[in-house]
């Protein structure tokens, strides 16, 4: 119960601060819109080609926006000098991890919604048919990306070249998740059933479990000074 309370405290605090400053959300949303334009300019001439690479582009947009937002997770703590206090308050530090993960998950959900909307409107993607399956893939993929992103975000918050090290650590670690969600999205948008991507979904679940457990177990160590 204390764990839940602690986690909730972190989530509520981050949402409250974000609502007031709107720093991360603004940057990430704006960035997604810009990406849409970039995709249109670079690939839009050939409609068929665009349609073929759409699942990849969708997730590329989400991933790039996530890179922006996830890396900032703990910068807030460092800027406000609260890092130590999070460590020094007695209680399971894993609650900080889960709280930040949940916050990042919310941020990514926001980005995904916006990207999907923009793609549907401007690039003529029809997602209606595939929606339920797509939502499942999105959810599983988001957990995986957020789990690793939060972990590495905590790590790189204290490193000098954070903007460099964070993507270098995150992207290779996310390759399995990325492959799984792009392939699944591709299949679903092509009208196939959820059953055909069964193995990818299993991989996503396995990855999510592994990453979250690893995060919970190692997070204390990252908070230490």
């Amino acid at each position: 119960m204390r764990f839940v309370r602690r986690t909730w405290a972190v989530v509520r605090k981050d949402v409250l601060i974000e609502r007031r400053t709107k720093e991360t959300v603004n940057a990430v949303v704006f960035f997604s819109v810009l990406l849409l334009f970039v995709f249109e300019f670079t690939l839009g001439a050939d409609r068929e080609r665009l349609a073929a690479v759409l699942p990849g582009l969708l997730w590329l947009a989400v991933l790039l926006a996530a890179l922006l937002g996830l890396g900032r997770t703990f910068v807030l703590e460092r800027e406000n000098d609260c890092w130590e206090a999070l460590l020094l308050t007695p209680g399971d530090k894993g609650a900080v991890y889960v709280g930040k993960l949940a916050g990042n998950g919310l941020l990514m959900a926001l980005v995904e919604t916006i990207v999907l909307l923009l793609f549907t409107l401007f690039l003529n993607v029809d997602v209606a048919g595939a929606l339920p399956g797509l939502l499942l893939v999105l959810a599983l993929g988001t957990v995986g990306i957020a789990a690793v992103g939060t972990l590495f975000g905590a790590m790189t918050a204290h490193v000098r070249a954070r903007e460099l090290l964070f993507p270098v650590l995150l992207l290779p670690a996310l390759v399995p998740v990325l492959l799984a969600i792009v392939r699944s999205t591709e299949a679903l948008l092509a009208g196939e059933s959820l059953g055909t991507v069964d193995h990818w979904l299993k991989l996503l679940v396995a990855a999510d479990v592994i990453y979250v457990v690893a995060g919970l177990l190692t997070f204390d160590v990252l908070l230490e000074g």
Binding site: F152, M155, L169, A173, P176, I210, V221, L222
Partner: protein, 215 residues
């Protein structure tokens, strides 16, 4: 102890060389270039051994904070990255005359490349963190997540390729069942593994000496 290991390793490499380039059968279609497989395949085997060691040593370090565990993890990562690099490079060298391109996005090469970057990340984290002890802790986390990722990378990359390409590209030779090829591979693996072990012990000693000098 390190000395005798070094001698054994040197012997192992010599024997492996003889086997690879002299005793093993000449492959019919590819010719002598195929012999590079005797370095390419064992190299990744040694790399995997190294990364398993990194995994265990990193967990041990986070649990006990014993600097020795950290040195082992560090040394093993360096050796693992080295052998991965050899695997990738020999894969490219093998590929060029055989299939005409330096790089193919086939499952094995791609997996190796991804793992290479992951564990280079381990080394980067150490280098870019100001406080050494903190860097060691962070690197241990990267090592643990990286090692856990290995099976995930394998499956995902393999399934990814399986949909788009027939899985032929870097199969070792015409008859995987050929006994002499199998034995040769084993000998070369043993030789390279000994070399890898020697490198790890040497590196460990250097890291340990460095730490003791500054304690």
């Amino acid at each position: 102890m390190m000395r005798s290991l070094g001698i054994v390793a040197a012997l192992g490499v010599v024997v492996a060389g003889i086997v690879a380039f002299g005793l093993a059968p000449r492959e019919v279609t590819q010719g002598n270039v195929q012999r590079i497989m005797y370095v390419h395949v064992p190299a990744i085997g040694v790399a995997y051994l190294a990364f398993i060691l990194v995994f265990v040593a990193s967990i041990t370090y986070l649990w006990t904070r014993a600097p020795e565990a950290d040195h082992i993890a560090h040394a093993a990562t360096e050796v693992g990255v080295l052998f991965l690099g050899v695997n990738i490079a020999t894969g490219a060298i093998w590929g060029k005359p055989t299939w005409g391109t330096w790089w193919t996005w086939d499952a094995r090469l791609t997996s190796a490349a991804i793992l290479f970057v992951v564990f280079v990340g381990y080394l980067l984290v150490r280098r870019m963190t100001d406080d050494h002890e903190r860097g060691a802790r962070f690197a241990a986390v990267v090592g643990i997540v990286g090692a856990l990722n290995i099976p995930l990378v394998h499956f995902s990359v393999y399934w990814w390729r399986a949909l788009h390409q027939p899985p032929t590209f870097l199969k070792p030779g015409p008859a995987a069942a050929s006994a002499s090829i199998g034995w040769s591979l084993l000998v070369c693996f043993a030789g390279l593994a000994l070399l890898g072990a020697y490198f790890v012990t040497k590196r460990y000693a250097v890291l340990r000496a460095h730490q003791q000098a500054s304690a």
